[in-house]
Each structure stands twice: as C-alpha cells, then as structure tokens.
C-alpha cells in the first residue's frame, strides 16, 4: 500500500500551526468536565451512538475493486466484509466465511460460508458471490489498480494481464456454501490478504442494474455492518447500520460520519471544536502541544511501515560502491532523528522489514555500536571509497515537497556534513514529479522513500527489493537476494521460508542499497468516550467494534 499521501498545502499548515501554538492553554470548547466518561461504572453507553471520523482525503471510489487509498479502505471496511475479518487488536477471525481448511500442501483452501450471512438488502451471501467478486476484481476491464494483491491465487496474474479469461481464475463455488480457492504457490499470508478490499464480494444484481454507478447511496448493496446512506463529495459520507448484517446484535454505533479533511491542522481544529471524535492523523508540528494538553486522547502505536532513503545503485557515485553507501548510512544518528527531528513515536530502524508476525527483523552488527564507533567506521569507509576533506562527495538529496520530508532530509545532510564532510544539496519536487523521477532512476542519487505493508508478513517489504519489482527504485539487483526470495515464495515450510527471508534481509543490509531510518507509528486523536478502540499494527478499525460511552 502506498504510504500516506504527502500532506498538501504545507505552507498553510505551517501558518496554522504557528497560530495554534500561540494559543495554547485555552479552555477547550465542548469538553464537559463534569460527568465522568462512561458514568459511574465507566462502561455506560451513550443514548446517541454516532461516531464522527476525520478521514484524510476524499475517497476516490467506493467500488471495492477500484478503490486504492487508505481513506477509501477505511470506509469500505464498514460497507463490505471479506471471507476473513480482523479484530480490533489485529488478529484474524472468521468473516463472511464461518470456517475454512487448507490442504496439506497449502495450495487449496475450502471456505464454509456463514449461513446467516446477508447482503444489506436481505439477499443471502453465497460462495458464488465471492466467485463473481474475485473474478471481477481480476478482470482487466474492471480497471482495478490493486489487483496484484490477488496474484497468489492461481492464474490471477494471467487474468489481470488479459492472457486468460476471468473464468480461468482458481476460484470456484462447490455449492452455495462451499468456496474453493486454489493458489499459485504456498502463501502463508493468504488469509490476511482476504481482509483487503480487492477480495471483497460485490452484489451482482445491483452491478447489473446500475453498472458503474452502483457504488452510490440508494444503489450500493454491501455485506458489511453498515450501509451507505449519504455521500456529499468533499463534505461527508454517512453510513447507517445494516440491520441484515449477521452480527448486527453486537453492533452498537448507529451512524458513522466520514469527513474528508486533507489539512491536518484543520482536522485538529475541528476535533478540538468538538466536531470530530476521531482524527485520521496528527500533524507533526502540533505534537508537543497535544502531548501537553490532550495527553489522554493522543493514541500513538507502531504502524506496519518502513521509512528509508534509497541510493540510485544504477549510476555513479553509488553504483558498485557499497562502502560509500554504508558510510552514509552509518553516519546517520537514528536516535536523534526519531527523538529530536520526529518525536512522534517512530522506532529507529537499522533493518528494512518492520516488526511483523513470525519474523525476526535483521540488524547489521553496527546497530549495536555507539554512534561514535559508527562515525569512525563511516569515516574509514568514506576514505576507502576515495573521498576525503579535499575531495568531498557532492550529492543531491531528492524528496517530495512537504514540511516533514524537508526536516528529515535537512537532518541527514547536516549529519553527513558533520561526520564526513559530504556536501549534500537538497532538492524537493511536487509529489507526482517526484514519483516519476524516482522511478526513472536517471537524475536521482539519494531519495526519500517509504512503504506501508499491505499485509502482516515480511514479504510485503522483502519483495520491493527484488530486481524484477517495479517499485525497486534503488535499482538494487542481487542474484543472491532474488534467489532467496524466489525460494521463499516457493517453499511450503514456514520455518524454512522464514529462514530464507531473514537471510535475504541480511544480504540486503550488507549491500545497503538504502538507508533504513525508522519504522512508522500511527498517531491520531480519539475522544475519551470512544469505547473499544485499540491501536493495531495495520491501523485498521471497524466501526462495528467501537461504541460511544456516555459523556
């Protein structure tokens, strides 16, 4: 999943922040301090169960097979339900399927549909609905930009590229309640993929009736806990409870509002004015004020993402020059970066893969050294690569135009100058220009990058540096790394697979085609009366798992 869109209108935000900071300590409006939240027991629910969420950018679509952003996924999670569901603390649980079994080789899954599963119009949710949904998701005519998520399913890649018809996809309904999915290779993270919107079913009759307009209020039929009531583009999306939902008895919130608010400062202002219960993010510059004034409402948790700066390894000076790459990487003090420059709960990173389930993140030996030791070794490597004070490395650091990126790039340049005498030039570009240049690998030397995992498995990160991967912006090409990854993808033995992926990461870190800097943190403001909220590593939240306490 692409990481969060760059924050727009940074100059506005900067101004806003300055103003907000100057206004600290003021009594919050709409924050009654008299009654304890949740009554005397702390568990009393409010009479009005309405949740208002800030949700970043306007979702580009509510068609689960055409949407691709985090903000759309947040809403789709309420409107639809995959075979598998996530709990609020991030574990997998049965969703539209009540149970499943996998064959011994891990290549065939049989799902038993939940007999009480219903669409929001009362129709039963059947195995055929999932066959139709998965075929539509892979059909090139659907224009699904996220279809590659389904590539582990047999023939999915050929269907997406138009070489096979959608009917050739390895999915079939044995009857109304039994669904068989056959895989192209062993995929230990397959069940996790089924929580993704590309794997949601769609209601065939309404697509037949409304065509491309089916994802609108009054027309959208979903199988999630909520139904689409109203959609005013750029203003709000309102969902109401789906009374046909199989677990409706446990749904507490009657109505949920999603507000698209791109500007983080505006979002916090609306939160503080009592118009939102839940923000999508928190602007970096307001963290200190919020920590001091709303400490109980600021929720920070590890987030499945890796932030790094890449080297363009296809061109000088970084081509065939691991000493130089290591020198630049070692000279960066990650503790200063995460604590002083960021200060928002990020974890310093020396490896590429963030903490994920059933995997030990790799760290180079120098991760355990003091920064002085690293600096000394960095200077040695720098000289070995042929640079010195008289002949310093002159390098261009590219990042997308955004306040936070500028701060980080500036910190890196300063550290390099101090430790090695490197003369780094900062260059920022507008988001789409930046993306294009980073991909072309022509003018780039050092560039910022980051990735949020699509599923809770190391492979969502490891694959990025495979020489054939389209997102391998450093242009890293290692026969050994590729071989380890290919082997891992083919093995059915989880222990062996884990060993191979860990070896691959060690290879990557030895070659250092990128500078790992930190692992992300999710951060948002949540009102004290929002019950049931638990931070999780994917930062996925279902409204049905939350409730409003009396306040």
């Amino acid at each position: 999943m692409p990481e969060c869109r760059p924050q727009r209108r940074a100059f506005l935000s900067a101004l806003l922040c300055g103003l907000l900071a100057g206004c600290g300590g003021r009594q919050e409006a709409g924050q009654p301090a008299r009654v304890p939240v949740g009554g005397a027991s702390g568990k009393e629910r409010a009479a009005v169960q309405v949740l208002r969420k800030g949700n970043g950018a306007e979702p580009e679509s509510l068609d689960p097979h055409r949407a691709e952003s985090v903000t759309a996924a947040n809403i789709l999670r309420d409107l639809f339900e995959g075979l598998v569901l996530e709990t609020e603390d991030g574990r997998l649980m049965p969703g539209a399927a009540a149970s499943w079994e996998a064959s011994a080789d891990g290549l065939t899954y049989i799902f038993h549909m939940r007999p009480e599963g219903r669409w929001s119009n009362g129709d039963p949710v059947t195995a055929q609905d999932f066959v139709y949904g998965l075929r539509r998701s892979c059909d090139p005519a659907t224009l699904n930009e996220y279809a590659s998520i389904l590539f582990p399913i047999r023939n999915a890649e050929a269907v997406v590229s138009g070489k096979l018809p959608p009917a050739a996809l390895g999915v079939r309904a044995l009857d109304d309640t039994l669904l068989e999915i056959r895989l192209a290779g062993p995929t230990p993270y397959f069940l996790g993929l089924l929580t993704h919107s590309t794997a949601y079913p769609v209601h065939r009759p309404s697509i037949g009736r409304y065509g491309a307009k089916f994802a609108r209020p009054g027309m959208l039929v979903g199988n999630g806990a909520y139904r689409l009531e109203e959609w005013v583009v750029q203003s709000h999306i309102r969902l109401g409870r789906n009374t046909h939902y199989w677990d409706d008895a446990h749904t507490s919130i009657e109505e949920v509002w999603y507000y698209p608010i791109e500007n983080g400062d505006a979002e916090v202002a609306r939160y503080r004015a009592g118009e939102l219960d839940f923000t999508q993010s928190v602007p970096l510059r307001q963290m200190r004020w919020l920590r001091e004034n709303l400490p109980g409402e600021l929720r920070i948790a590890p987030y499945l993402g890796s932030y790094y700066f890449g080297f363009n390894t296809t061109r000088p000076p970084f081509r065939d020059n691991p000493q130089l790459r290591l020198a630049l990487s070692m000279a960066v003090d990650r503790d200063i970066l995460t604590q002083r420059v960021m200060g928002t709960g990020e974890q310093p990173a020396y490896g590429f893969v963030p903490p994920v389930a059933d995997y030990t993140g790799q760290r180079p030996a120098w991760a355990a050294w003091t920064q002085e030791q690293r600096n000394a070794e960095a200077r040695r490597l720098y000289r070995e690569a042929g640079y010195s004070e008289d002949n310093p490395l002159v390098v261009e650091v590219l990042y997308n135009t955004e306040q936070n990126q500028k701060r980080i790039a500036g910190a890196l340049a300063a550290m390099w100058k101090q430790v090695l005498g490197v003369r780094a030039k900062l260059l920022n570009q507008e988001w789409k220009v930046f993306l294009e240049n980073r991909k072309r690998k022509v003018i780039t030397q050092v560039f910022r990058s980051g990735w949020i995992g699509d599923y809770n498995d190391p492979y969502t990160f490891s694959q990025l540096m495979h020489s054939k991967n389209g997102q391998n912006d450093p242009g890293y090409s290692s026969a050994e790394y590729d071989r380890l990854l290919d082997e891992a993808a083919a093995t059915a033995d989880p222990a062996h697979r884990r060993m191979l992926l860990e070896a691959a990461e060690r290879r990557l870190l030895a070659d250092q085609p990128l500078i790992p800097l930190f692992f992300y943190a999710s951060k948002r403001l949540v009102k004290p009366w929002v019950g049931g909220y638990q931070p999780n590593i994917m930062d996925h939240h279902h409204t049905k798992d939350l409730h409003i306490l009396s306040h």
């Binding site: 506005l12 930009e145 996220y146 997406v160 750029q234 505006a266 202002a269």
Partner: protein, 308 residues
C-alpha cells in the same frame, strides 16, 4: 445596444478557446500522470486505464476529442473520482461555491460601499483614518492567515461557530467562510468607493446642487452615488474572479464541498478532466460576469454605449 451586446458576447468565444487550449496543453505538460502512484501498476492495467480514458491517443487527437465532447456539454468522467462524471461533480459543487461567493460579494458591496462613502464624507477626519487603516489591514492579511485565525478564536476558543464543514448550508457554517472571503473585498471596495466619492463630491455639478440648497441625503443618493459607483461596478468583474480564486483556499480550509476544492485536488492528482472542467466552467462564468458588468456600465454611463 443590441449590436453592442452581441459584439461583447462574440469576443468571448476566441478568449474561451484560448483558455481551453492553454489549460489542456499546460495540464498535459506537467510531469507525472493521473495513474502514477507509489504502488507500481501492472503494465497491462495501466495500458487498459490509458485506453479507457483515451490517454493513449496522440495529444492533438485527444484535444479535438475533448473539444468535440465539450461542444456537446460533456466534460467526461473524472479520472480520480471514479464513481462520478465531471459534470456531476461540478453540479454538486457549484451551488455551494455560488452560495458562499454570492453572500461574500453581497456583504462586501454593502459594507464596502457604505464604509467608503461614510469615510469620504469625513475626509481626513479621525473616522476616515480608522476606516482606511482597517481597510489597508484587510487587504494585506491574506485569507489563508485570516481563516485559521478566525477558526481558532471563534470556533476552537469561544465555541460559538463550527470550525469547518458545510452543514447542508446552515448559517452557522457559513459565517466564518463568508466573512473571510468578503474581508479583502470589503476593504478594497471601501477604498475604491471612498476615492471615487471624494472625486465626485468635488465636481462642479455637486457644487451646483449644494448651491441650490439641496440636502446632503438628496445630493448623495440622487446625484453623487450613481457616478461614484462607476469604478465600483467595473471592479465587480475582477472582484468575482478574486472571490472565485479566494474560494479555492477558503473551501480547502473550512472543508466546504465547493468546486474550488476540486480544482486543487484535481491539479495535484493530475485529474485532467476535472481540472479542465473547472477551468472551462469558471472561464465561462468570468466571461459572463464581465459581459454583465459591461452592460451595467453601459446603463450607468451612456458614453460607453456609443458605437465606435
């Protein structure tokens, strides 16, 4: 008068054509495209997307295709908001922008002209200086500073009004955006009408009227106001344009669902059709406004009606 009207109307057509062509090719010249994302698209999917939106054709052909559709009133589908066509988005957003823009213009005219006239009558007095100083401040503070300042004070601090959102057009949601949008125009109009009023009040026909012993009210309303309003009227065209560009920022800050916001997100997303749609729509609107101003001007000052 009919010839004058037709002539004015026809000169708008080439202007519009230049605008459409300029916007179209500039938009395409910007690096990056609508389907560039961090996630790498499988090449087949990207090819499908390009084909579906005619982006695989030669640029000139795409332009002619676009012009053809435009003549039929079809702005095409939005590349970003896949569930909607550009026409649908503009239809949904324009009433909001119009509502806020019209209220802001009305507020600016009423307060601006009144304050300007009041100051003109007290030229160089303390009251005049206060009004003009306030106007100068109003012009100098950009709306992207004024808006968060007001939000912080009135919404977050005092809790009197909402900090953002449209609320279906409820007045509480409109106060802050309309005020912010109107303020620079109030200020400009106050300065403009003051200067113009001072000039008119010093002219011989007003002196004559005074000499005849007419009351101040009569002089103002019956004789001075109409000529003094001429520069104000001719400023209405640029003012409309200023309110429209201002609304782009205001809608973003207050989270209002107007078309100004589509313009910003459209440009950043390289949503070619959406940006083109907004440009063409606003282009026609501004041309129409200028045309109306010309007509009103002709009514107020007969000299401009003379052929020639």
């Amino acid at each position: 008068m009919l010839r004058f009207t037709l002539q004015r109307l026809l000169t708008g057509i080439p202007t519009l054509l230049v605008l459409v062509a300029g916007a179209f090719f500039l938009m395409r010249a910007a690096p990056g495209g609508p389907f560039d994302r961090e996630r790498d698209l499988p090449p087949e999917i990207e090819a499908n997307l390009r084909r579906a939106y005619h982006l695989d054709e030669p640029l000139l052909q795409q332009f002619l295709h676009y012009l053809g559709n435009l003549l039929r009133g079809d702005f095409g589908p939005s590349l970003q908001y896949r569930d909607f066509s550009v026409s649908e988005l503009i239809r949904a957003g324009f009433p909001v922008s119009l509502h806020i823009g019209a209220l802001a213009m009305l507020l600016a005219l009423l307060i601006g002209v009144a304050a300007g006239t009041w100051a003109a009558l007290r030229q160089n007095s303390a009251g005049d200086h206060v009004v003009m100083a306030a106007a100068m401040t109003g012009i100098s503070i950009p709306n992207f500073v004024m808006a968060p300042l007001l939000v912080l004070l009135v919404a977050v601090g005092l809790g009197w009004l909402p900090a953002g959102g449209y609320g279906g057009g409820a007045w509480r949601h409109l106060v802050l955006p309309v005020t912010t949008l109107a303020l620079p125009q109030v200020a400009y109009l106050a300065r403009l009408s003051r200067a113009s009023m001072i000039e008119v009040l010093a002219s011989p026909f007003i002196r004559t009227a005074r000499a005849q012993g007419l009351g101040l009210g009569t002089i103002l309303l019956r004789h001075a106001l109409r000529p003094a309003l001429l520069p104000v009227v001719s400023y209405l065209g640029p003012a409309t344009a200023a309110v429209i560009t201002g609304s782009v920022v205001i809608e973003q800050i207050f989270g209002l669902p107007g078309i100004g916001r589509f313009f910003i997100t459209g440009a950043l997303n390289r949503d070619y059709t959406l940006v083109m749609g907004v440009v063409v729509f606003y282009g026609v609107l501004i041309l129409l406004c200028n045309f109306l101003v010309d007509l009103v001007y002709g009514f107020l000052d007969p000299r401009t009606r003379q052929p020639g």
